[in-house]
C-alpha cells in the first residue's frame, strides 16, 4: 500500500472537487458515502480513484438520505466518514443531519451549491445557506464554513473533520458549483507536517467491556416527554454558545474609516475584495467584511463594524439568505442596509464597484 497521500508541500492546479478529495485523504478520512449529483460528482470520482491506494473505501448508496445515514453509521462504528452533495441532494441530506444534531454524531458534509429551488441549474448559487445552516427540524446546531478559494477548500475540509469530532456537531464545508468546477492553484500538504493532529475517532457503539463490565452507550434521538427533550436541548444550546467564540472565523479590512462596508461570503467575497481594493485606490472610503463561518456567525465582530460605518452593502448570489444572518446578528443597529442580490448567478467585482458608486 502506498505511503502518505501527500509528501511535503506541493503546488497543484486542479478543480475544487479534486481539492476536496485530496483534503479528505490528507485528513485521514476512512470512507466516503455518496450519491451522484452535479456539480459535486467529481469528489466521488477522484475519491474512488485515489482512496483504494491508501486502504480507504467508498460506498455508493441509493440516494442522499441513505448517503447521510450510512455516513453516520460509519461514524458510530468509529470511522472518519464523510459525504458530499448539492442542491436537491442537500435537501434530502437534512434528515440524517438532523439526527446527527440530536445524537451529537460528528459528521462532515461538503456542499457544492447549485441553482434552486428544486432542480433549477446544475451550475452555481449561494442559495443553500439557510438550508445548510438551519435545515432540518431542529435548531441549527451545526458548524458551516463558507470557502472562497481552492486553498480554503483544502484547508477547511481538513479542519472540518477536527471541528466535527472535537465539538460533536455536524460540520459543513459550503462551496459552490464555481469552486467545484474551476481550476486554480493551491498548495496541498499533510496536516501532520504542519503540526496539526487529527482528532482521534472512536466507536460510539459496540465498545469493549471495561473491567468486565459492558456499559451501554445510549445515544438517543427519541424522547418521551417535553421536559426531557427541553433539558437535552438546553444543554446543547449551552454547549453551542460556549464553543461558538472558538469556532467563529471572519475576515475584514479597511473598515475603520469606511462610509460603506461590503459584506459577502464564499466565492462572491473574491469579487467583493477586488471591488473594495479598486474603490479604495480611487479614494472611496469602503471596507470589506466576510464571515467565513456562517454558523456560528461572527455577530459581535460584524456588530462592531456596523457601529462604525454608515452603510452595509450585502452582496450574495441568493435573495437575501446571508442577509437574514446579518440582520439577526446586528439587530438593534441603525446602520443602513443596501443589497446586491443575484440568486443563482455569479457576481463580478465590476458589478460591486458600480453598485457602490451608485450609493456613495
Amino acid at each position: 500500500m502506498a505511503d502518505k497521500p501527500i509528501q511535503g508541500e506541493k503546488r497543484v492546479f486542479m478543480t475544487g472537487n479534486e481539492v476536496v478529495a485530496w483534503a479528505a485523504l490528507a485528513a485521514q478520512a476512512d470512507i466516503m458515502y455518496g450519491y451522484p449529483i452535479t456539480p459535486q460528482n467529481e469528489i466521488m470520482h477522484y475519491w474512488t480513484r485515489m482512496a483504494p491506494k491508501f486502504g480507504k473505501r467508498f460506498l455508493q448508496t441509493e440516494d442522499e438520505l441513505s448517503a447521510g445515514f450510512t455516513t453516520l453509521g460509519g461514524v458510530l462504528a468509529g470511522r472518519r466518514a464523510f459525504t458530499a452533495t448539492a442542491g436537491p441532494g442537500n435537501t434530502l441530506m437534512q434528515e440524517p443531519m438532523s439526527m446527527a444534531e440530536m445524537m451529537r454524531i460528528p459528521s462532515v458534509v461538503v456542499i457544492q451549491q447549485r441553482g434552486g429551488p428544486s432542480t433549477a441549474t446544475v451550475i452555481y448559487s449561494q442559495q443553500e445557506v439557510t438550508m445548510t445552516a438551519y435545515g432540518g427540524n431542529g435548531e441549527g446546531f451545526r458548524i458551516v464554513y463558507s470557502t472562497g478559494t481552492h486553498q480554503e477548500l483544502f484547508d477547511y475540509t481538513i479542519k472540518a473533520f477536527n471541528t466535527a469530532w472535537k465539538y460533536r456537531f455536524p460540520t459543513f464545508v459550503l462551496g459552490d458549483g464555481y469552486q467545484a468546477k474551476m481550476r486554480e492553484s493551491l498548495t496541498i500538504y499533510d496536516p501532520q507536517d504542519k503540526g496539526m493532529e487529527m482528532v482521534k475517532t472512536e466507536a460510539f457503539i459496540g465498545k469493549e467491556p471495561v473491567n468486565g463490565i459492558k456499559e451501554p452507550n445510549h445515544i438517543r434521538n427519541t424522547y418521551n416527554t417535553e421536559e426531557e427533550l427541553f433539558d437535552v436541548l438546553a444543554k446543547y444550546m449551552e454547549d453551542y454558545l460556549k464553543i461558538a467564540p472558538e469556532i467563529v472565523e471572519y475576515q475584514e479590512f479597511d473598515c475603520d474609516d469606511a462610509d460603506l462596508v461590503v459584506v459577502s461570503h464564499g466565492v462572491v467575497s473574491r469579487a467583493a475584495k477586488g471591488a473594495v481594493q479598486e474603490l479604495r485606490s480611487e479614494g472611496y472610503k469602503v471596507g470589506y467584511f466576510r464571515p467565513i463561518t456562517l454558523r456560528p456567525f461572527p455577530a459581535e465582530q460584524l456588530r462592531a463594524v456596523a457601529d462604525k460605518t454608515k452603510t452595509l452593502l450585502l452582496v450574495e448570489s441568493a435573495y437575501g439568505q446571508m442577509a437574514k444572518l446579518v440582520k439577526d446578528a446586528i439587530f438593534g443597529s441603525t446602520v443602513a442596509i443596501e443589497n446586491l442580490f443575484k440568486p443563482g448567478v455569479g457576481i463580478t467585482s465590476e458589478e460591486v464597484v458600480d453598485k457602490v458608486k451608485g450609493l456613495l
Partner: protein, 188 residues
C-alpha cells in the same frame, strides 16, 4: 504583466475550446502565474455552445467568470452570437473566417475584430485534429499570456505519451501553434 487577462473561448462541442483553455491555464500556472479556468457546464453541454472562461494574471484572480473579456475567440455561428455579450470597446474579437451568415452578428462595439482561417488551415494544410492547437497559437499571440515555448512544454506534458509513439504528431502540434500565431499576426 500587471493586468489580468480575461479570455473567453467558444465553439461547438468537439472543437476543443475547453482543452485549449486548460492547457494554457496549466502553462501559465507552471510559470508561477495565477490562472483560473472554468468551463460553462450544465445542460448547455448537451448540444449547446461550449464556452471556456480563462483568466491569467500576477495576483489572485477575482470572480471566476467575468462580464467583459480582453479576448473573445468564437469558432462557430452560434458561438459568435453567444459571446457578443462579453465584448466591449477594449475587446479583441477573433472568429473563424469560414463561419457563414454572421455578418450582422459580429459585435460592432469591439476594439478589434479579426477573422482567421483556422478551420481551413487545419483541414487543408495541417490536420483537423490539431485545430484546437492552432486556436491555442492564436490565443497566445493575441495575449502573450504564455510564450510559445511554454505552450509547447504544456502540450508536451499533456500529449507526450502520444508523441513517444508517433514523433510526427509532435511536429504537427508545434507547427499548429506556430501557424495559429501567424494567422493572428497576419489578420492584425
Amino acid at each position: 504583466m500587471a493586468k489580468t487577462w480575461k479570455i473567453a473561448l467558444a465553439g461547438e462541442g468537439g472543437q476543443g475550446v475547453q482543452s485549449v483553455a486548460e492547457i494554457i491555464a496549466e502553462a501559465a500556472n507552471e510559470e508561477g502565474r495565477e490562472a483560473l479556468y472554468i468551463p460553462n457546464f450544465g445542460v448547455e453541454q448537451r448540444g449547446g455552445v461550449s464556452v471556456a472562461f480563462l483568466q491569467i494574471g500576477d495576483n489572485q484572480i477575482g470572480s471566476p467568470k467575468f462580464q467583459k473579456a480582453d479576448i473573445v475567440i468564437a469558432l462557430s455561428d452560434r458561438a459568435v452570437r453567444r459571446t457578443r455579450q462579453y465584448v466591449d470597446e477594449k475587446t479583441t474579437f477573433v472568429y473563424d473566417s469560414s463561419i457563414e451568415g454572421i455578418e450582422d452578428d459580429l459585435p460592432k462595439n469591439a476594439g478589434r475584430v479579426l477573422a482567421i482561417p483556422a478551420i481551413e488551415v487545419s483541414k487543408n494544410e495541417l490536420h483537423p485534429r490539431v485545430f484546437n492547437i492552432i486556436i491555442m497559437g492564436a490565443v497566445i499571440k493575441s495575449t502573450a499570456v504564455v510564450s510559445e515555448d511554454e505552450a509547447k512544454t504544456a502540450i508536451e506534458k499533456k500529449l507526450g505519451y502520444k508523441f513517444e509513439k508517433n514523433p510526427e504528431l509532435r511536429e504537427l502540434n508545434f507547427k499548429a501553434i506556430a501557424r495559429g500565431m501567424e494567422l493572428v499576426e497576419k489578420a492584425q
